[in-house]
Structures are given as C-alpha cells and as structure tokens.
C-alpha cells in the first residue's frame, strides 16, 4: 500500500485516498464539516449544500467533491459559516419548525447544526406552508412540516430496505415528500417500523409512536455536547482492505 497523500483542511493535514470525497476524508480524520443530507452509510446526495467548502478557491460541496492531494480546503472560515447560517435560515423558514414543542428537539440534526453555527435569528419571513400530518400508520407518524428534503429516507428505503416507499414530487418551493401508495398514506404502503428508513430522518418528520419524550429534553443527544464533538477519527483500514 502506498503512503497516504494529504490535503489541507483549515491548515491541517488530512490524509486522503483516491476516490475519497473531502467529506469522507475529513470524517475519517475526525474533523467536522457541517452537513445535513450527507450520511456515511449512503451515497452522497449534494442537495442541502450545508457542507460548502472552498477548495483551491472554488466553492464546492464537500460531500461530492473528490479530495486531491495538496489541495487547500477552507471549512470553518467566517465566509463558509456565513453561507451555512444563511442556508440553515432558509431551511427553517421554508418549513414549520416549532422547536420547543417538537419531539425531536435535542436529537435534531438541523437544530444542533444551527446551534453549532450560532444561528441566532431569521433574516427572512417564514413561508408557513400547509403540510398535513400523516398519522395513519400504526407504528410511525409523518410530520411533513419539518421536512428538509435531504432524501435520506428516500435513499434508505430504496437502497437498504429495497422498498422505494418515499419520493420527492413537485418542483421548486412546492417540492415535497410523497409516500408510495395509491392513497398516498403511509398505512397503505408496506412500510415497517423496523425499516432503516424509519430511523434515518435527521429531523422530526418520521417519528416512532408511543416512545415520544421517553428521554427528557435536556438529556438528549445534542444536549450534552455540540454536534461537532461527535466527529471522531476512525481506525485506518486494515492492510489489503478496500477503501
């Protein structure tokens, strides 16, 4: 195996292998690049744009951009974090997010990322979209008000569960999540609470019933430490193992 090459992330050396994205390399090295639609278990999607970085002067999405040796990448600079705060702002005003009453509060990636980036206020007027809740399924409810269109459920259901239960329909600001059934209701699909898609939602759209508020707000995932503290270096791949 050849010696790993490196690129610079905010001035620090990060090892990278051919084919690895900036996000993957940073994650493996225990560095946090803010993100929402990226998840290590799924193919990169590149839609939320929270992971914007500047690579050799070009603004790109870290989750889809290949890491190249010698590259200079700016991540937590005031300019990139300013972009991120604005994008988060836009995701908040686009949906209906009432954090204090949300079951996901404290476990929500959107909320935790906003705290991490110090998003203090809203620059834009809220859209207040009309998005009915689907509580038809016996074990899971869907509160579309909080959807950020990351398509993690779409990918999990398609790529892991082999079911293709979720899809996005519509265009532009009218784009929205739909369920694969004739009635459009989750109860009429073959969705199961054991599906990977049932536990992948980073916000509070896909919620399991009867376990709400089991862990009190204040003791939840991101209550103890900020989201950036979760990034940990992963062990290097064993000899001969494919990256």
């Amino acid at each position: 195996m050849s010696e790993p090459s490196h690129f610079k992330l905010d001035g620090e050396d990060i090892p990278c292998r051919p084919g690895q994205t900036v996000m993957q390399a940073a994650q493996a090295a225990g560095r946090y690049i803010p993100h929402l639609c990226w998840h290590p278990d799924f193919a990169p999607h590149g839609s939320c744009k929270i992971c914007v970085v500047k690579a050799d002067g070009r603004t790109v999405a870290a989750c889809t951009f290949e890491a190249r040796p010698g590259m200079q990448v700016e991540n937590r600079t005031p300019e990139m974090d300013d972009h991120r705060r604005r994008l988060l702002n836009m995701l908040f005003v686009e949906g209906n997010h009432f954090c204090p009453s949300c079951e996901k509060s404290g476990n929500c990636t959107l909320q935790a990322t906003a705290y991490e980036l110090g998003m203090a206020n809203f620059h834009f007027d809220h859209f207040f979209p009309d998005r009915p809740v689907d509580a038809s399924h016996p074990d899971v409810m869907l509160d579309f008000n909080r959807c950020i269109q990351c398509e993690l459920c779409v990918r999990a259901s398609r790529d892991v569960d082999g079911k293709q239960i979720f899809a996005l329909a519509g265009r532009g600001i009218r784009s929205h999540l739909i369920v694969n059934s004739a009635s459009g209701r989750l109860a009429d699909s073959n969705f199961a609470v054991s599906d990977r898609a049932a536990s992948v939602c980073p916000v509070g759209v896909i919620l399991k019933k009867r376990v709400g508020f089991a862990i009190p707000i204040g003791s939840r995932r991101y209550d103890a430490a900020p989201i950036s503290a979760e990034a940990q270096p992963s062990p290097p791949p064993a000899q001969g193992e494919r990256p």
């Binding site: 744009k49 836009m90 005003v93 329909a169 265009r171 532009g172 600001i173 784009s175 739909i178 694969n180």
Partner: protein
C-alpha cells in the same frame, strides 16, 4: 379513457419506464388530464413505483394530475409579452369567461393561467391553447376565443391563421442561408471518417452555442474516448432543443427552416463519437413542430440518410424525438438526460459529466441545435472555411433572437464580434435604455456598454437579445425574471429552491411599497450565496437580473423604498380584515393602525 387507449399507448412505448414522459403526454392528450387510476396503471405496466410515476407527473408544468378544463389557455408571461400587454388581455379573457386566473370554471370547461416564455417573443403576446401555440393576441382574438370556448368548438376547428407562426428572419448568414442539399455534408463526413471529421471541427474552433461555449471538438473527443458500460458499447447524441431561456427563439426557427441541417449535424456527431442513436429533446412549447419534424425524419430514412446503412456505408444511426413538458431546467444537460430517462428534470452530481456517463450511464454528447447545424456546415465546407467568419476565439456566426422595443423583432444572424450597437441599429431600436443579452441568466447592458461585442471573449450569448427603451421600468423587468426563476427552480438544492422563492417575495414586497434598505442588502447577500453554492447554472445565475438592475438602474428601486431600515412584509392590520368581515365590525377598536385609534 377506455383502457384500450391506454393499453395501445403503453404498447407503442413497449411499456418502458424510460419512456414515461411520452406515455404521460400521450395519455394526457387522450384524456385531458392524468387521473389517479391511469397513473396506477402506468406504474403497473412499466414496473415503476407509483410514487416514481407521480414524481414525474408532478414535476412538469404541462402535466396535470387534476382536471383543468376542456380548454386550457396559458398566457406566455415573459417580460416581452407583458410589454405587449398580455396582462390586460388575460384579464379580458377571464372576464369574458367569468373566471379567475388559475382557477377552473365551475362547469369544468376552461382554465386560464400564465406560463413561462413560449419562445414567440417576436410575435407576442402568445398563448398556448391545449398546448397549441397562438401568436399575436389582441382584444379581437380574445373576444373571438372566448366565444369559441363558450360554444365548445374544438381547437382543431379554430381559425387557421391564429396558429400561424412567422420565422421573421431579418438577417441571414452562414446557417440561415441553408446552402446545403440533404446528404451533402454527410457524404463529405463519411469520406473523411469520424476522426477526420473531428479534426475539421477542431480546426473550425467550434464552440457550443447553448451558453457555456465549450469546445465541441473536445466534447466529442471525450465522448468518443469514454468507455461505455453497455455490452454493445452504446453512446448517444442529444440535440438540446429545450430553448427555455426567456427571449430565445432561434432554435425554433432553425428547426423550422433548416431541420435537415440539424438532423444531419446530429448524424455527423454520431459518426464522430461512435453513436448509433440520437435524441432531439424538443421543448413542450414547440409541440406544434413535432409532426413536421417527424416527417423530415421519415424522409431522411427513406433517402438512406438515417437508418441501418447510411448512404450505403456500414455506419448506422437513427434519431428519436423526445418532447418535454414545460420545465426550463431541462435545458441543463444532466437534467435533460434525467428527463430523457423518464424522471423529474433534476441536475445530476457532476462529475461524472454526460460525456462519460450520460443517458443510461453511457457516454453522451449534448449539443445545442445551432452547434449541430454549424457542425454540419463544417463537415461540408471544412474547418478552415468556417474559421474565417467571426473572431479569433469565437469563430462562425451567431443567431440572435431580437425582441422587445424595436421596429423589427425577429432573427438576426451575424458573424461573431458584432457590437450591441450595430444590432440595435439594424433592428430599429430607438432611445434604448437597456439590453438583456442571453436572457435572464445572462447579462443586462446599459447604454455605456453598447459598444461591447457579442463574442465568447466579450459578451457571450445563448441567443436572446431583449431590448428595453426609456419608457420601461427596469425594476419590473427584474421582478418578472425573479418570478420566472422561482417558478422554474427544480427544487433540488436549498440555495435555489428557497432562494428564488425568497427573491420573488422580496421583489413583490418592494413593488408593494414595503421595501427597505435592509431588503436590498439581503438581496445582495442572497445573490452571493446562490452564485457560490447552487447545484447548477439555474440557481447560480437566478439572482443576476436583480443584481444587474440594482447596480445599473438603482433609481428604479430607490423610488419605491421609503423606509431606511427594516420594514416587515407582514401587515398585521390587513391580516385582521378577514376577522373584521366575519364579525361585521369596522369600529376603531377593530383596527390596529394609529389613524383608527381613538
């Protein structure tokens, strides 16, 4: 619809999911809309999920999953249509039909709404009636149309002259003189062979006419060299005739006047890259061209210029026409390919680029109509001949679609390097305040820039040239464009999906007299964000018109802005008006504003 009709549509498309767009279009043409049972049936037959079918049906403006009337009248709403009075005409039509824009009449007979630019800017105001183009609308036509609709006269029996579309070629050059007999360029190309043809294209210095100006030789070479994952080594040629950029209509005229040049260019591209199949992606607004183009393809097949053994050689190539359904973003090459595959037109992650992984993940070259027509000329006359026109880095000619405030709107073909001023003189423009070159995603030029030249090295253009004279309000121009982008954003990425919607709201807020300096500051920052972080060219350029007008025509904003700092868009007192109506109150205590307080 009888299930027999649907069955025959499905059979005609071999029940293939990649043909979903055409299946949906034909189903809708048969039934007027796409009912849930039909979507379910299509899903079952194609093996797609129901959600996938709904996803595509819901993405495109011209597909409807609820009934929208026997007659659907869509007014082209480009700024040039507005300048020709489309808003008053639409209101007159609605009044004559007793309905609200965007609503279906209570008897389910008719709906009237707006649509993005239909590419008839030189003969507007234009409408689409059941997706057929009517040009030159005026009050007489509005009244007559209302009467025909009320009398339920089928659109096929409406006055023929309404559907006539003029080419308005004002200045012809290399391309529009159409100097080639069908097959001549192909014979020369076959004699040179694929590699020899590529050399000529390289010598010609041909660059893409679709906007980006990428080297055509380089694109074809990459496609030729890329490894195809298909067992049969499949590669594809796509002609981009989506022409959705408001103010652009030159591809429409090329396809009307010189379809052989375009199809032969595609065939030659096939020869150069090693493809056997090509697609013409024709925007839904140009549905009226479909039958004529199919006839040209049939004639070329009969003449041995398409098919299994072209001009007696062992080169095989054929072309299929794929009709779009009202989505500007499908002009972006990777979104176009998604659409060709039957999916919503959302741009892919690039790289990989289409030349290595395009249609069905095979190497695919996507080229503009005008690029392919130029390639055909080059094959016939040679690269050196072509390079003699234009400038050093912008060889050949450029076709401009001229519209707006000028005496002679229409099609003007020039050698690259022509000045904006020259075009203005030729089209009879007077007291010009501004020119929007290359459409809303292009650049807005003020009079001190009219000496600049149309060329890749100065002002690049995908073809649009919209003229505004001194009577025009540039703020309203930018507002129209802001709504265009909000309507056309595919919704995939955050900055464009939400940013275009926010920009449209900002512009409406300013138009309503509630704008503030803070809003302008937010608009500047939004422009920077969208430019830097959007996933494709649509979002990256969507704030250009606002940015350009703010920089060059600031007074048109300033006179609308009273407040120096922050002003909310939300009017609390107005919001209470419904409660007042419901309770029948209008006393001072039912109002929030100071004047009404005791």
């Amino acid at each position: 619809m009888s299930s027999a009709t649907l069955e025959s549509i499905l059979d005609r498309h071999a029940r293939q999911g990649v043909r979903l767009m055409q299946i949906l279009r034909e189903t809708q043409e048969a039934l007027g809309w796409l009912p849930p049972e039909a979507l379910g049936e299509i899903a079952r037959a194609t093996g797609l999920t129901r959600a996938a079918v709904e996803s595509t049906a819901n993405f495109y403006s011209f597909f409807h999953t609820r009934p929208l009337g026997h007659y659907r009248v869509l007014w082209s709403d480009n700024i040039t249509d507005r300048m020709l009075g489309n808003q008053a005409l639409m209101q007159a039509l609605c009044k004559a039909l007793w309905l609200q824009p965007g609503r279906v009449s209570e008897d389910g007979l008719v709906s009237v709404d707006t649509t993005s630019c239909t590419g008839m800017c030189d003969q507007g105001p234009a409408v689409l009636v059941n997706y057929r183009t009517v040009t030159n609308m005026n009050l007489d036509r509005v009244q007559a149309m209302a009467a025909l609709i009320r009398a339920r006269v089928p659109v096929a029996e409406w006055p023929e002259e309404w559907f006539q579309i003029a080419d308005n070629i004002r200045r012809a050059g290399l391309l529009l003189d159409c100097p080639l007999a069908p097959g001549a360029a192909l014979a020369a190309g076959l004699a040179r062979g694929g590699a020899g043809l590529l050399d000529e294209i390289r010598t010609a210095g041909l660059r893409g006419r679709g906007g980006a100006g990428f080297s055509t030789a380089q694109k074809w070479q990459s496609c030729r060299d890329a490894r195809s994952p298909a067992a049969d080594g499949a590669r594809y040629v796509v002609c981009n005739a989506d022409e959705g950029e408001p103010g652009t209509f030159k591809d429409r005229v090329l396809l009307t006047r010189c379809p052989d040049l375009v199809f032969e260019g595609m065939t030659l591209a096939g020869l150069a890259v090693g493809a056997r199949r090509g697609f013409l992606y024709l925007r839904g607004e140009y549905r009226y061209l479909l039958d004529a183009l199919e006839a040209v393809l049939a004639r070329r097949r009969a003449a041995g210029l398409l098919g299994a053994s072209i001009a007696g050689s062992n080169f095989a190539f054929d072309i299929e026409i794929h009709l779009g359904a009202g989505a500007y973003v499908c002009g972006e090459e990777s979104a176009l390919i998604e659409s060709l595959e039957g999916k919503p037109g959302k741009p892919r992650i690039r790289p990989p680029f289409p030349v290595t992984s395009g249609y069905l993940n095979c190497p695919t070259t996507v080229n503009n109509v005008e690029t392919l027509a130029s390639a055909c000329l080059i094959a016939a006359h040679g690269g050196a001949w072509f390079a003699r026109s234009g400038t050093k880095v912008s060889t050949g000619s450029k076709i401009l679609s001229v519209s707006g405030d000028c005496a002679h709107p229409g099609i003007y073909e020039y050698p690259f390097g022509v000045s904006v001023q020259q075009v203005l003189e030729d089209c009879g423009a007077q007291r010009t305040l501004a020119v929007q070159v290359s459409g809303p995603s292009g650049v807005l030029l003020a009079p001190d820039e009219f000496e600049r030249r149309i060329a890749f090295e100065d002002v690049p253009s995908a073809g649009a040239f919209m003229v505004f004279d001194e009577t025009r309000d540039m703020f309203e121009v930018a507002r129209n464009f802001a709504h265009f982008f909000a309507h056309e954003s595919c919704g995939f990425c955050t900055p464009c999906r939400v940013g275009t919607a926010i920009n449209a709201r900002f512009m409406d807020k300013i138009a309503a007299g509630h704008g503030s300096r803070d809003d302008l500051e937010q608009i500047f920052r939004m422009h920077r964000l969208m430019q830097a972080t959007s996933h494709c060219g649509l979002g990256q350029t969507a704030a250009n018109p606002i940015f350009d007008t703010l920089r060059k025509f600031r007074p048109s904003y300033d006179r609308r802005i009273e407040s120096l700092h922050f002003e909310p868009a939300f009017d609390l007192d107005a919001a209470l008006s419904r409660a007042r109506r419901m309770t029948g109150r209008d006393d001072p205590a039912a109002h929030l504003t100071n004047e009404h307080q005791p």
